[in-house]
Amino acid sequence: MTLGLINANPVVHAKKERVARTEDPHGDDAVDPLEIYDFVRDIRDPEHPYSLEQLSVLSEESITVDEKLGRILITFTPTIQHCSMATVIGLCLRVKLKECFPPHFKVDIKVAPGSHADEKSVNKQLNDKERVAAALENPNLRQLVDECLYSNEL
């Protein structure tokens, strides 16, 4: 079997300009999609030295949050239908959010409807607590995830 890249030539999009939030000391500082997006946009793709934002895997619109119920839903779009990296990307997102938000937030991670060939099973795998825990026990996988999260390549 040849060990080629799964998506050898992805389309790279421009990074959106980061707008500094206006300082408003008395404003409502509830968790909003932009805040979550700011945490995850710079996660590196497992295959390429580009961020998830640049590959258009994520966007601000694909994130919804309900602070009262403590729920976060992220829908991401793998670059190609058969992307076996979709689960790794999902795992990265989950680890990152676990670091950035208190434990009482429930995080749901899904691939966008119709964007993946094996949508159902990927979704199931990503939201299965035990499989996630098991995956993070795997040293190889753990290293891959850490590389994506803390990479300086971008």
Partner: protein, 1137 residues
């Protein structure tokens, strides 16, 4: 003999290659100094060295010759006879053939060649011989880099110093040089080769001379370096930059017109390249060559150059105009390097050959097309971006051509101006400039924007032309110049067109309309030369138009700003060119009307805009500012008398005074020589106060008036000289003593409480006057004379007990400056003043009589004992600050009083007397507020105040006074904390926190180990009370400053555990977001301490930080994520770093 053996030793040590370079250099120095001091002659040296110079051992011979060469370098300024020079140059010249020992020969030749004529030079014949030997023997390109460099330097000095000698070599020389420089790659050597070619070309200027036949070959060698592409990564070559190389090559290119047939085609070819740097270089080289090659040679390339140049401008000019008010004067297009170079080239070409290039421009199809295009689009916004770019390019080209010379200006106006006027639908009016009957009617249809834009470019170009020419046209004899004739005829109708641009379009007004309109009018108004080009009627009409916009159209922000900016520009222009006729119109129309804005009671126009307009106009010239200031002052005085009646007047006075102190006073201080204005201002305010008898300063609004008035008074007084301050002080003192009820003369004869009674009877007006007088005292210079200091002291002391802080500040300023200004006739020394203050029975804390007096005072003042104490403490704090800043030792007495108050026993002395007066349950609270104000006294002592006692108000400041106070107070406070009772502890911490916060960080850092426990205890002791939140924040900032510093980190490493515990508590601090954020940032900084120290705390911190992830504030959450990351990665550094 000893000398000879020593010499041999030196020579030996230089020649021996086993010695270190340092030793070799030392022996070289030694030999050179022997020669310099005439202890040794050149002849002896050569004779001694004979063996080394002639040996067959290549290495020793090379070293020997090098030694001789280097010695000659050292002797550059020592006079030598011709004979030794002749034989030495003969020797070195000979040695050029010896390739194994070449370096020494080159060094020697070069040293001799570079000798100054005063100390004996190489003769012309010898130089020629050197050149011949050089050409015959040296294969430059086969040598190493350093030798090549020496070769080129030798060649350079031959060419520069002996031009006639080497010129006679003719073809041979040129051929040799071609051979030597061909293929050179080192940047240092290239700098030299470019220069050699430049000098060579100067040597053979004859177009039919020897250079002519070699020009092609020589240029082939040169041409391949263009454009310079140079990205040398090595640091050692950093002293040669790309620009230096490009400049040197340019000079070589343009050195002789003989290069013209080869250079111009090459440059034009590279101009079409897509590399921006190549384009810029090509254009620069073309400019240089144009000037140096001359008209005839450039003429044949005219068309080719024009078409490439046009392309360059068309593609590089920006397609977006900015319509900001800032771009009114100056460029409205962003600066583009290519376009700028291209236009400067065009200007040079036109200056050189006006007729040819203007023919090209006039006949150009692209330009014609643009002219056709603009008439098909009405508004600027309809024009597609690409056409906009071309339009701007044409604008720039036409403007550059018009700017080039009067002749070209005429031609451009002739061909294009009338065309534009046709498109705009304007016809020639009568040239007398009188408005004809139909001029009153505005042009009803929208003007063509493209044509407007181009006419503006043309007008501004010829304005610049007039401005730059020495002789401003004054006589009508010049009217035969076409552009002036056209301009004179069209200016009235153009004015109408520009006016109509922003007036007649009603519903779909664009920014472009307003911008073009204002800019056009501005340019017309700023033509130099009096009313010769632009008639008076037109000029005044323009001013009236702008003024009416400023008066009426304030709702249209952009237009308003543009018009105001334009007026300012016109004002500046009049100042710059001393246009006295126009100044009259400007004063009459603009300044008067704008100044009247200040006083008009019509409130339709927002007040802030009025003030802005006033100040903007004022800044355009000194005479205008004086008028504006007059207007402002007039309005202030007029409203001042009405303050008590209408809140509106109070509002106006507040605004105007603020504007006066923030804008006008700084401007006057910068302008120099306008001090009188400030003096009059201060005196007039005093006059106003004296004349108006009614003041009700109780209402908050009017209280505000007093505050801003005090500020303005302080600033005005502070900016005056000592003599003028004396006048103001005299004036204010006389008003204080004559028109108030204070019995100044007999004040100090009475007992404290009796005076207090008098003071208490004073009216609110008296209080105004006293506060204002305090403001004057605060701002004066130490040398300024203050009359009757003793009664003053009493008066201020009594009023401060009533809570008048200004009086306390004035007292502080007085003790700060007293006696330090070198004044001898002062009626009261500092020591006397301090005695009065400290022994005064007003101070309730420290003498035995206090309870008695206090009781009386309480009755008299009808205020509670606590607030009396608090006022006294505040007053003492300001006086203490004055003493502290000048470094007076009496400040100790003051701080002892504060420290006494901080200890329960100290206050208890007072309070047990109080029990009869107040109820017991009330007592604890009383203590608290008094103790708190005693703690805050340290803030007053250490903090920098904007209100008084600073550099602006001429305070006497001893260097490092904060540092000194810090190091005396901290040990004291530390020991007090040790033995303090729980009640007073927080206040002691608060006091020490104030001292720590206001001490420069660098001082705290040097004492970190001792301060840290105090600081941490303070943080935990004060974290319960919401009132202490600012103190907590200040302390945290100090802590984070320590943690960020390298030495600080070392010092706190031992107490890392306590610091972490303290910070973890503050993560949850409920009263202030900044405290939580800073605490987390400090934790991040702690994670950088040594691994062994912090690892045990890791889990504790991570647990605590999870709570912060849920913080209601986003900034805190983000810091928490960062902090978590930092601490989590301690365990697995390999992964995350």
């Amino acid at each position: 003999m000893a000398e000879t053996s020593q010499l041999i030793q030196h020579i030996e040590s230089f020649v021996d290659s086993s010695h270190s370079p340092g030793q070799q250099a030392a022996s070289l120095e030694a030999i050179a100094s022997l020669l310099k001091n005439d202890q040794l002659t050149i002849e002896t040296l050569v004779r001694e060295m004979e063996g080394y110079l002639t040996t067959t051992d290549n290495i020793i011979r090379a070293r020997g010759i090098l030694l001789l060469g280097e010695v000659l370098v050292h002797l550059a300024s020592k006079p030598l006879d011709d004979a030794p020079i002749h034989s030495l140059i003969g020797f070195f010249m000979d040695r050029l053939a010896d390739w194994r020992a070449l370096r020494g020969a080159l060094v020697g030749c070069l040293a001799l060649m570079r000798r100054k004529s005063s100390g004996g030079m190489v003769s012309g014949n010898d130089a020629k011989a050197v050149a011949e030997s050089y050409l015959q023997n040296l294969q430059v390109q086969s040598l190493g880099q350093y030798e090549r460099k020496l070769c080129f330097e030798l060649l350079e000095s031959l060419l520069e110093r002996y031009p006639n000698a080497v010129a006679s070599l003719g073809d041979n020389l040129i051929y040799g040089i071609c051979e030597a420089v061909d293929g050179e790659k080192d940047p240092h050597c290239l700098m030299l080769t470019f220069h050699i070619i430049e000098v060579l070309s100067r040597l053979f200027p004859d177009p039919c001379g020897p250079l002519a036949s070699f020009a092609h070959d020589l240029f082939e060698i040169l041409g391949c370096y263009f454009p310079i592409h140079f990205t040398h990564p090595k640091v050692e070559d950093a002293n040669v930059k790309r620009d230096d190389l490009a400049k040197a090559l340019m000079l070589a290119f343009s050195s002789t017109p003989l290069f013209e047939p080869f250079a111009i085609p090459l440059l034009l070819e590279k101009l079409s390249s897509s590399l921006p740097s190549a384009k810029v270089d090509s254009l620069r080289y073309l400019s240089d060559c144009t000037v140096k090659y001359g008209v005839d040679r450039m003429a044949k390339h005219g068309e080719a150059i024009w078409s490439s140049l046009k392309d360059a401008v068309f593609t590089s000019v920006d397609s977006v105009l900015s319509f900001n008010p800032e771009s009114l004067e100056g460029l409205d297009l962003p600066e583009n390097e290519i376009a700028a170079e291209a236009l400067s080239l065009l200007q040079k070409l036109i200056v050189q050959n006006t007729k040819m290039f203007l023919d090209l421009i006039v006949g150009d199809e692209d330009i014609k097309m643009i002219f056709n295009m603009i008439s098909s689009y009405e508004t600027y916004h309809e024009i597609p971006p690409q056409s906009k770019q071309r339009l701007h390019a044409v604008g720039r080209i036409l403007s550059t051509s018009a700017k080039a010379s009067t002749l070209s200006c005429n031609r451009v106006f002739e061909c294009f101006f009338s065309q534009l006027m046709n498109i705009l639908g304007l016809s020639v009016r009568n040239s007398s400039g009188h408005p004809s009957s139909d001029e009153g009617i505005l042009i009803s249809k929208r003007c063509n924007h493209g044509a407007l834009y181009l006419s503006i470019e043309l007008l501004s170009a010829c304005r610049d032309l007039v401005a730059s020419s020495e002789t401003i046209p004054a006589a009508s004899a010049h009217t035969e110049e076409t552009w002036k004739y056209l301009l004179q005829n069209f200016s009235p109708s153009l004015t109408m067109a520009f006016c109509s641009a922003f007036i007649c379009t009603s519903e779909d007004t664009h920014n472009a309309d307003m911008y073009f309109g204002v800019k056009g009018l501005l340019i017309l108004a700023t033509f130099p030369g009096g009313y010769f080009l632009i008639p008076k009627t037109v000029f005044e009409r323009i001013l009236v138009t702008f003024v009416s916009i400023v008066n009426v159209d304030y709702s249209n922000t952009l237009l308003w700003k543009l018009a105001l900016k334009a007026l300012v520009q016109i004002g500046l222009f009049i100042e710059r060119y001393h246009e006295s006729e126009k100044e009259l119109s400007y004063l009459g129309i603009v300044v008067e009307r704008i100044v009247s804005l200040a006083s008009v009671d019509d409130f339709s126009m927002p007040f802030t805009l009025r003030v802005e307009a006033l100040l903007e106009i004022g800044t355009s010239g000194q005479s205008y500012m004086l008028k504006v200031v007059q207007g402002l002052e007039g309005t202030i005085y007029a409203n001042l008398s009405k303050v008590h009646g209408s809140t509106n007047s109070a509002e106006i006075v507040t605004q105007l005074l603020k504007c006066y102190s923030n804008k006008v006073i700084p401007w006057i201080c910068c302008a120099k020589g306008l001090e009188d204005v400030l003096l009059h201002f201060a005196i007039n305010i005093w006059n106003q106060i004296e004349n108006s008898m009614v003041f009700h300063a109780t209402q908050t609004k009017e209280r505000g008036v007093l505050d801003v008035m005090m500020k303005a008074m302080k600033l005005a007084v502070a900016s005056c000289s000592v003599e003028k301050q004396n006048i103001i002080v005299q004036k204010s003192y006389s008003i204080l003593s004559s028109s108030t009820s204070f019995p100044l003369k007999e004040l100090f004869l009475q007992e404290g409480f009796q005076i207090a009674q008098v003071v208490d009877d004073s009216s609110i007006r008296d209080e105004w006057i006293l506060s204002l007088f305090a403001a004057v005292i605060i701002a004066v210079h130490p040398r300024t004379h203050i009359p009757n200091i003793r009664p003053m002291l009493y008066l201020f002391m009594i009023t401060l007990l009533k809570g008048n802080v200004a009086a306390a500040q004035a007292l502080g300023s007085m003790v700060n400056k007293l006696g330090s200004g070198g004044q001898t006739s002062s009626d009261c020394t500092l020591e006397e003043a301090m005695d009065i203050i400290l022994n005064s029975s007003l101070w309730i804390f420290h003498n035995d009589r206090s309870p008695d007096i206090q009781a009386k005072m309480t009755v008299v003042h009808d205020i509670s004992c606590t607030s009396l104490q608090i006022h006294a403490i505040v007053g003492l704090a300001w006086i203490g600050k004055g003493l502290l800043m000048r470094g007076h030792e009496k400040v100790k007495d003051m701080t002892m009083i504060f420290l006494q108050c901080l200890q329960p026993s100290g206050v208890a002395d007072i309070s047990h007397q109080e029990k009869s007066v107040s109820e017991n349950s009330y007592e604890l609270d009383l203590h608290h507020s008094v103790m708190k104000s005693a703690a805050d006294a340290f803030q007053i002592l250490m903090g920098d105040s904007e209100l008084c006692l600073n550099r602006d108000f001429h305070a006497v400041i001893r260097p490092l006074y904060k540092q000194r106070f810090f190091s005396t107070m901290m040990p004291l406070l530390q020991s007090l904390v040790m033995k303090s009772e729980p009640l007073s502890r927080p206040f002691l911490f608060r006091a020490s926190a104030h001292i720590i916060m206001d001490t420069p960080l660098i001082v705290v850092l040097s004492d970190t180990k001792k301060i840290i426990p105090m600081l941490l205890d303070g943080l935990s002791a004060l974290s319960n009370d919401i009132l202490d939140k600012d103190v907590i924040y200040g302390l945290l900032l100090v802590l984070s400053g320590i943690l960020m510093d390298k030495n600080g980190q070392k010092a706190v490493s031992d107490s890392a555990h306590t610091i972490v515990n303290c910070l973890i508590d503050l993560i949850q601090y409920p009263h202030m977001m900044l405290v939580r954020e800073t605490a987390i940032q400090c934790l991040v900084a702690v994670s950088g301490l040594s691994h062994a120290r912090i690892y045990p705390m890791r889990m504790q911190v991570l647990r605590a930080i999870i709570k912060a992830l849920d913080d209601p504030k986003r900034a805190v959450r983000q810091e928490a994520v960062r902090c978590r990351q930092a601490w989590a990665s301690i365990a697995s550094r390999s992964l995350h770093s």
